[in-house]
Symmetry: D2
Subunit: 423 residues, 4 copies
């Protein structure tokens, strides 16, 4: 989602964006039964229904309750149930217990969405002029926030379904496979001072700012993501049993959790299979490996004699490219093998790329103002940056400067590996 | 549920019992939404849907698959999903993850029940004569098993609802309250040799057998259960802060979990409230205290200068009484204050009574034969015996010799306290 | 240790017992370096130095501080450091951190013992006549308490040494081995009313009282303990991999902890070895298996088609025997194979015998009075009774009515198995 | 410790450094009893004796066993006992169980040191000329390694002593206090390209290399460390109860662990005290706050309206200063209040300074070769960089480019806070 709006035409665009993005969340949920929408398969994940309600709570709490005159909340208890982590907005339902909320029902959550949407349209019809810019900014933030939860709806239900031996599918039709991945090439990029971070007029998260200068050394990026076939070679070469390839915490985790392959791989009885949003399926050696942790990405790079790029190298390379690729909009719900093309492919879409950069604040970083100051800044510890978006990210949510972040052990996102090396 | 059957009339009675008890489970579940039926609020509890499917799996696995010719399983994967703890019957879905089973849906579970019920009726129409007695015995066991899960459906959903700040009700209408509890009296019982355990012709669990002699000393039993009001006095007198009243493990638990009252009590802002199957409600000082652990029961008894009865004392007193009281059949779903009556009241129904007896095997104990040998025997460690049934136990499931058992820390059952003392 | 004393001769006997038992503790510790005496290898165990100080604290706190006029405590801070679990006697150093007490040094603990011993002798020289009986009773209790800690000094240091790959020995000389165990026979015992519990004039713990009648069925006891060789047969027959042999909690533990043999067994490279207080040693197939949990004892019995005796059966059989056997006084520090003899052997000494009895209070149980009321009663939950004493129990500490108790998972005591069966 | 050596004079200097640094470790340990040297108070810490043996193991395993002809190991089992984390050098004694090693005794560890030292001197007498440079490099590394463990000996024993209510002192004499801290000033530093990392001829760790260019913005550094008095103001202003000041993980930790002040602060009954290596002592408001986690440092900075410096800013400022300050060599064992002086004070010594930089590899980072490749690189995840050394760091161990690192929750090091702000 792009920038805030300050005149009639811009407000109209905002209304359309609101309608479109809010509808998309419900479209994604509509493939799921009420029971599917209720469960939480691990503390990191949330129920579909909770995502639908929480993204609605965001508009209600941060916008309607402040600026819509005579706004009556749908149910005052939802302020407690659907606050995620905003300390400034009061206590909240405990995160690990989100999957116990059989009530409100999926239908009641849709009613809640109706109520808030109608109120938002009322507000957009009659924006208080003194606060027009501020409200528009918050709406754009709310829509970008909702898009983030669209991605989580899909990665979270994938995890929940994977815990059921019936292995339900989120979608039944399988996408066409590309028969062979493009060969691995290398693209050279120059060193020197690079401008990093967002500086345009449109929307960007606070963590992408301010634009600042970073000194780079010349480097090379792999032309595409590491494939399942290549990752299988790593495994066959003892990748998960050779401590010298691993960071110390990663090696401890591999042994504690007995990791032997990426999440969702199944190799029982010699079959090479994968759990996907289409259910269990044969594993395509040409498609990008996904659902690897940072630890696995770094171990693979060590094994290959390469390294992971920094987030600055990645952004330096990406800023000259179109934001194009295999996104949520394409309704594949799965990454696709790289096509043969010149230069870098799969930089956007398909799968997030772990970088060798800790999620630290940029020099001069200032968080958003007000309650949304908790949006990003307080998570800047213990996490690694991922770049580029995935097959379940909305295309217009993505930018070259976009910084996603997860702890190094996380595997349930569509996370993959792009190699780099010094020039 | 009573005894096995071996002729036409008895088989007809069995068919009727089957139809009635199976229908009762579905009636209990029918007050719940599909979402309610899906969740699991703690490892000890299970989803409603799982209870409905597991009790069906019991008939399918232990009876139909062995004796109904040409029986085709409804879904072979259910053998894995709905096995509870029978090692002899293969691996099973992990217990703590039962609440992730969004599929099969509540409707599919009902379909599964239909399929198994029809097959069971077919089998009853044409019982293989050589195995008639064995099959009838297993059916009776299966029905008693199903009745145990009826009670768990209610105690488990009560726990799940209590985790939701919306505090849903299982039933909306509140039962009439009795205005005052009978005063506490004492009934004397003689010592000497008592016959303990089941020896009749009807059904009883293996853990109730064999009947054997136990030497008792003369003792007295309180005429009714401890009330909420009496338990409040214990609290007001520092009951939860005085280590000398507690068993060592209990004291550690009180402090680790910061227990200050029975489970489901709410005393915010001076209100004396309770979470019930009817939702949040004012607390009736006259009704029996429930949802206390064995530790709390023993601490209360120590505070009162009394003790808990042994299971043998309880049975000695109960065997002369009618099995009557406030049971599931009464649809109160909540205990009731003791009525004024001569002798012992509330011995059956209302609430389970913790005894000062560890759940050890009786002398000469033999477990059931075959796969159902795992039914009771393997749990005879680390648990305490409770007696008498509760307001969510089916009346015809109860007997004076019935031994229920839970770990001393368990609080989510309708468990209460009856005092005893040496004569 | 035997009974309290109330006249001159008895007081003199008490003084001698005091001198002898206190000296024995120090003799046991004297084989250990100050460093050995400092560490704690798990929460259940305690450092040698702590045992020496805690048993001294007992005399100081419960006797000297009350009855020795002008008694000056050695160091007031020791009241906090060396209280074990007496809530009535104030807060205490956390149990899991006992192994961090580098100070006081082993020498200072000996000085503390000197100080208390001298004060105790002063008190014995001039007992306040009004309290003579009470004080004598507490001294006898304190000496029995000290003897219990003598056993723990040895089992705890054995565990600590087993955690060190240098495998230190507590004693260097190995005891002579008996070449072959007596063949397994069975002794029949009659049913009927048995008098259980202590009723004599001498000392017994409160948990052995009151004497009361228990109804027994006729039964048989194995003539000796299960041997290492027999237990090896159980292992070879898949004993640790067959769930049908195990109690449910035991089976979970076997898998969680990956148990494949008793504690301290080593079978690397086909060698049959054992860690002992003499260091690593070859395993004698004829000697009793030790360091098994109740779960392993019960599983072995199930495999053998037998059962464990109840504590009442054991006591019924033991009460006619001399308290004789392989005790601490023999300085073997290890069990010995059963000699050929008529009737029951190894009932006393060698190794504790797990019974199929939960550690419940006897009918009419009353705890000791005063602070020592916490001695036994508050632990009467979640534990199983063991009988008979071991090769590290002082002989004069043992009685037919003596009830030892440990949680069913405990393995670091010299605990073994005697089989029983119905007659 | 400085650089490797390649001719006679340099080897002689190396021999002297070896003798001096090895002796220093033993001097530090000599203030402790054998018992003190044995215990481990938490998994992060190690026993003194283990530090002494492990730093010796380093020379034995990495140098003597490879290059000293006919070298006979002191005890082959020590290779297992005293390997810290080198996967390439085989399995090792479990880290959390280091405190159970009562054997070898403190004296045996000293004998081990003698044995290795004599062998090292033999090797230095007759260095194989082809490997002279390589060996010299490893010796210098070994000595720097030993110096790191000197610091840990002191911080680990401080923690162990703090767990004992006797509160032993490491040293008895208290250092003189400076009566008032210098007022807080600010030093401006320019932006632009800064050369970061080590590039000289002497020794530096691999993590300090390669020197590379980093782009800085103009910034200001506080002239001294935050004092105890200033940190008390933060506490009095609700610092530990205001979520808006904290990173999310830090806030969770504060609540989980109930942190209310830095580690080792005691404010019982209104006294302002501190546990130090000199025992319990009054708290000097002028001395630097220490034993704060990164989370507390960042929360303090947020409260003060400032921020923490990046490690690059810190190094940019430090590279023009003398490496001078309050170090281990001064035998104060405690930080000192800042003296009045122009510019930056306390940059070196007194206390480590948390930076707002994750411990990531420098561009072009290459780990050491061989087994010591595990020295630093594998820990480059989940940790934050600290700079400047402390009052228990040897002075000649410190450099402006030196990067220390700990997880953000660590508090048992002498870690403090220096504020920064954008210019």
């Amino acid at each position: 989602m792009s920038e805030p709006a300050s005149n009639r035409g811009e407000i109209e665009a905002l209304r359309l964006a609101y309608a479109r993005i809010r509808a998309e969340s419900e479209a994604l949920a509509s493939r799921l039964t009420p029971e599917d929408q209720t469960v939480q398969s691990m503390e990191d994940a949330s129920p579909t229904k909770w995502h639908l309600a929480h993204s609605t709570w965001f508009f209600e709490t941060l916008i309607l309750s402040r600026w819509l005159r005579f706004y009556r909340s749908f149910d005052e208890r939802f302020a407690y149930l659907f606050n995620s982590y905003y300390e400034a907005l009061g206590p909240r339902h405990p995160r690990p217990a989100r999957g116990l909320l059989t009530r409100p029902s999926a239908q009641e959550v849709l009613d809640y969405r109706r109520h808030v949407d109608q109120s938002m349209f009322s507000l957009l019809d009659d924006l208080p002029s003194r606060h027009e810019a501020e409200i528009a900014t918050l709406i754009v933030l709310g829509l970008n926030h909702e898009q983030q939860h669209q991605e989580l709806i899909l990665t979270d239900i994938k995890h929940a379904f994977s815990c059921n031996s019936l292995e339900p599918s989120y979608v039944s039709s399988k996408p066409e496979a590309i028969e062979s991945a493009a060969p691995l090439g290398w693209t050279s990029l120059p060193g020197g001072v690079a401008e990093i971070g967002y500086a345009g007029p449109g929307f960007a998260f606070d963590n992408e700012k301010p634009r600042h200068e970073v000194m780079l050394r010349p480097f090379r990026l792999a032309s595409r993501l590491v494939t399942c076939g290549e990752f299988s070679d790593f495994i066959a070469d003892g990748g998960y049993r050779r401590p010298e390839l691993w960071l110390s915490d990663g090696w401890a985790l591999v042994n504690r959790e007995n990791w032997r392959a990426p999440l969702y791989w199944h190799d029982d009885d010699g079959r090479e299979e994968l759990f996907t949003l289409h259910g269990r399926s044969g594993r395509n050696r040409h498609e990008p490996v996904t659902h690897v942790s940072f630890y696995e990405a770094a171990a693979y790079a060590a094994w290959a004699g390469k390294r992971l790029p920094t987030e600055f190298e990645w952004e330096r390379a990406a800023r000259e490219l179109q934001v194009d690729g295999n996104f949520l909009d394409d309704r594949r719900f799965h990454p696709r093998a790289a096509r043969n093309q010149a230069g870098l492919s799969q930089m956007f879409g398909d799968a997030w790329e772990w970088t060798r950069s800790s999620y630290d604040p940029y020099p001069g970083y200032r968080s958003f103002e007000g309650a949304v100051s908790e949006y990003n800044g307080k998570f800047m510890i213990g996490q690694m940056v991922l770049r580029g978006g995935s097959c379940v990210t909305p295309r217009d949510h993505m930018r070259a400067t976009y910084r996603n972040f997860f702890p190094p052990a996380a595997r349930w996102q569509f996370s993959s590996i792009r190699l780099a090396e010094d020039a």
